[in-house]
Symmetry: C2
Subunit: 223 residues, 2 copies
């Protein structure tokens, strides 16, 4: 815990300066991205706003894209640690479901330490609606899925390389999560609560959706 604290509140002057520069760059970047569009924002504009050189930007962020995903990065690692914390009694799918909802409950203040939650929400929607960023987002999700599949396999005492179920379950879960995010991004209600509600509804639809006959009645499954 002490290590994490130091990472968030560095001690030395140099470290604090570095952190300030990074935060300022990130804030300026996300502000410009969400304000005038990602593609329409040049790195030069970002560094002009912070009054550093372009070279400095690329020392903090490997790419313009990386800046766009800085917060998302935090959220994901948050989800992973929540998942690790789930009791072994929960079934795989149930554990993943609980972990996302818990992570969304607790990530708020961590975000607030850097930017605002509101800016993060706008950033998320921007990612979903910018083709090149959506692509990057999906690729990142694949990496995350691999980690989750490993975790699930471990929980269940299985080998991901031989048993298809961990990967398959994670793929299905994350597919539904993506659809949810997409719909939320297109919708009018931009609140965190609406995202959470949508998630619950859609995850609950997965079982019924895979069952054979849909005509028996919407949302009620085949029974």
């Amino acid at each position: 815990m002490t290590d994490e604290q130091q990472a968030v509140y560095p001690t030395g002057l140099r470290e604090r300066k570095k952190r300030r520069t990074r935060d300022a760059l990130l804030h300026a970047a996300l502000d410009l991205f969400t304000g005038q569009g990602y593609e329409e924002t040049t790195v030069d504009e970002i560094v002009d706003a912070v009054e550093v050189s372009q070279r400095t930007f690329f020392r903090y962020f490997a790419s313009k894209e990386e800046a766009a995903f800085a917060i998302q990065e935090m959220v994901e690692s948050h989800f992973l640690s929540e998942l690790r914390r789930r009791p072994a009694s929960e079934a795989p799918f149930e554990a993943m479901r609980s972990a996302v909802l818990c992570a969304w409950n607790s990530i708020g203040e961590a975000i607030e330490a850097i930017i605002t939650v509101e800016l993060h929400m706008r950033t998320y929607r921007m990612i979903e609606s910018t083709p090149s960023l959506l692509a990057a987002h999906l690729r990142r999700s694949v990496d995350l899925e691999n980690q989750v599949a490993l975790l699930i396999a471990e929980r269940e005492g299985l080998d991901v390389r031989t048993d298809p179920r961990p990967r398959v379950a994670v793929a299905a879960f994350s597919g539904v999560m993506r659809v949810t995010g997409q719909l939320w991004g297109h919708g009018r209600d931009t609140s965190m609560d609406s995202l959470r509600a949508l998630t619950e509804v859609y995850l609950d639809q997965l079982g019924p959706a895979l069952a054979g006959n849909w005509r028996a009645g919407a949302g009620a499954g085949p029974g």
Copy 2:
């Protein structure tokens, strides 16, 4: 049918020349991509091989990336038309499953008209193993999924905007397909047959994977 024929075998001299240039560019591009890597191949190298200007390349392909996906594009539209052809008696998931397998059976000759099936297989593996292309591939998949969800909803007489099941089913299906492709790409057996076999096994695991208790027996489901 006549229109399609004309599209594949153009009549005029100008059209034939255009087609030759495009095919040559595509072949050179995929050859270089698979041979020395996508990122390591510059557009200049491609156009040098075909002896046209860089500007010409960008008139045929909106981007270097688009060239990498030219064949994939064909395969996808093939899948869509197979899906449209499935009888209404099939359940949604069953229809999608049949459509992929059918599409893979019949796409071979269409590919052979432009490049070789072997080059296409190598291209697919290159896409899977090149981060930026994997990202693009996933984004393209989302577009395809949206079309498929619309088709499925139409088959079942539902509205995608109100009923979550079409999107959820498609998301789960396509998630499993992606995992399959990923594993196939990492494996040793590069044949079409191995891809097909893997697909069948994994799709059949989806039901069991979502069921609660996995410890009852691997690969056999909860029953």
